[in-house]
């Protein structure tokens, strides 16, 4: 069965690109428009992985990561956060919140897939 990956991003174009890349590589995708939307969806839906932006309205990326790690259903999934190179400090914050790894924006589809393969094992 294909693995289900959630992409949480307030940018429709990024969501679309991530989603398109994932589907092309045989993954199923669940989209969320911000952290709040993501947490709501994840409370009842088991996914294999989460890719989240950091800057999002309502609940931001860090809040989302903490929320997922505190819940039971998706506690151990890999979480990749999308950061930019100007946010080095965010990486450690994200790590502390429970992120598995990060990918620096902007990224190419093949870079995204490489990271997914890495953390999904």
């Amino acid at each position: 069965m294909a693995k289900l990956i959630m992409t949480a991003d307030d940018s429709a174009s990024v969501r679309q690109m991530v989603s398109f890349t994932l589907k092309q590589n045989g993954y199923d995708v669940l989209e969320a428009v911000d952290g709040k939307d993501a947490l709501a969806k994840l409370s009842s839906q088991k996914v294999d992985m989460l890719i989240t932006d950091l800057n999002m309205p309502n609940v931001d990326g860090l809040g989302l990561i903490r929320g997922v790690r505190a819940g039971a259903l998706n506690k151990f999934i890999p979480i990749i956060m999308l950061t930019t190179e100007s946010q080095d400090g965010k990486k450690s914050e994200g790590k502390a919140a429970g992120a598995t790894g990060w990918i620096v924006k902007p990224f190419k589809p093949e870079q995204l897939i490489a990271v997914i393969k890495k953390v999904l094992g």
Partner: protein
Amino acid sequence: MIEQHIVTYREEANELLAELETSLLELEENPTDEELIGRVFRAMHTIKGSGAMFGFDEVAQFTHEVETVFDLVRNGKMTVSKLLLNLTLRARDHIKSLLDASVSGEESDRAEGEAVIAGLKQLVPSSPNEPSPPPVQSQPAPDAGAETLKTWRIRFKPCPEIFLSGTKPLGLINELRELGTCHVVAHTAGVPVLNDMNPELCYIYWDIILTTARGMDAIKDVFIFIEDDCELKVDLIDDGGTGDTDLDYKKLGDILVERGDLSPMEIQKILGLQKRFGELAVAVGAITPDKVQSALVEQQHVKNVRQERATQESTSSIRVPAEKLDLLVNLVGELVTVQAHLSQTAALHGNTDFASIAEEVERLTNDLRDTALNIRMLPIGTTFSKFKRLVRDLSQELGKEIEMETEGAETELDKTVIERLNDPLVHLIRNSIDHGIEMPDVRLAAGKPAQGTVHLGAMHSGDSVLITIRDDGAGLDKEAIRSKAVERGIIAATAELSDKEIYNLIFAPGFSTAAKVTNVSGRGVGMDVVKKAIEGLRGSIDITTAQGTGSTITLKIPLTLAIIESLLVRIGPDYFVMPLSSVEECVELTRDNIEEAHGRHLANVRGAIVPYIPLRDQFSISANRPDIEQIVITNIHGTKVGFVVDSVIGEHQTVIKSLGRMYRDIKGISGATILGDGTVALILDMGLLLQSVETLEQGGVSSAIPM
């Protein structure tokens, strides 16, 4: 990039630009509203991030500069001023024009963009003049010297909470495996009893020995996400340099000290007990077994790596068409001949200058010859590995269980020799499997393991290589061979033969002991063909066998076919060449000696009686016989035999020229060579010479019996 994505991005960017404009205008009213500042920043951020992803590099680069300024505002390091807002609005317009330009294909106003950025930079307080990072992530540069295979020891000890960050340690280890040859040892000593175990924690750590061409960075990249959440120690334990030709790696104790698992003091204490170190270390409780196991794995891994490298180094490097090498060797052969002529002429003239030049040329020629011949040398191992397949297929076909062992695969032989050895070896191995090794049930009944073994070995021996094919099968059946030979008329029923002679019967043409013709044997290739092929290589073949325990066939093959070290001798006006490999010594033969032996062809060499063959008689050379002749004592298959010649001229580098078809079958002559003065000398095959003399003396009864 799919067009549809670009359209989506452009739409989204336009929306964001509209939002940016509104936020900026609102910000003019409330310059300290953090919510508004955040919105401005986020809008820029998204435009930039997505822009680079969808190929709008110019948009991304430009927006990055503006975003950087607003990051400062967001962090309270800058205040919102009228000037900043003006510039940002101009920036917004410029982004819009960049986006529009990408549709219309028009050039955007680059100067405007530069002016905006210059203005923004002036606003930034004590702006450090550092270059902005490129918005497009650069690919990591490939490691320099990526071709060398290095071996690393990686101790990966994740923090117990590793699973809580979604990291899968096994995934990382699998990633390492993909980098190269890998041995992984898990240390499980820390796993508590079930009651005390928290299933959410990781109690295991790993030692990984990895041989890869990818370098340290690639290894570190594997752990990039968790470098702060684990104990990671990466040590280079073999740098792939050619300096480490020693196959044996460090001692177990040294490895454990290096890893910090034991102290040198502890090692000394344990060593005092004198047993196998690893067992002792565990027995005295100094260390857990898995740590010893892990160190042992490292030892073995590095040993394998070095072994592989040793074989690779001897096989790879440069590819040259075989004809070029043949040509080179031929030319060197000509040179050796000319050089011999030169030395000879120099000796005749007695001119010291000339002599020293000739000597120098001789030295260089010898070096050149050795080098040229060496180039053609290849390890025999490539041939060996082909046979593994043969053994596997044959044993399956015949329903036998056979394992093949090889030894001395690194032994080097001339390329041509290796090629010409292939067919004889195939035949010999087939024989071992088909006739030698018994069916599993027979073996078990004989008290042997069901699985038989064929051992293929190669080793240097002087200027020859010994190749052995040994099996632990039934051995040759003396009686069966004998009766078969009688049946075929090869020997008389009454003939008395030694064991060795009986075994040698299998080399007779048309001889086969196979009761039935199987798919494997009986293809019309007999041992006589093998023997011929080996003799064609100026080699010899020898069998030892013991009924019930197996046979060993030994091939003695000269290293090279082109040039041999030899002894140049003269009989009357004729010159002959004897391969030096079988020559033991030269002794004088006087008329008195001959009389003492009462005309029998026997010489007393320091008390030992050695039979000799007068070559003068063999070749019917009628020139005057000198008073003192020379006996060249040779060793042929372990027997001492002398060959009488008029005089021994000395050692000679013989470039072998094969004889024409007309003369190819002459017994005792294996080829010819050209001497320095242009004279032709025949190369003697002493083994065959002796054989033909013996058959003559036996009246030709057993003329078909090979040596």
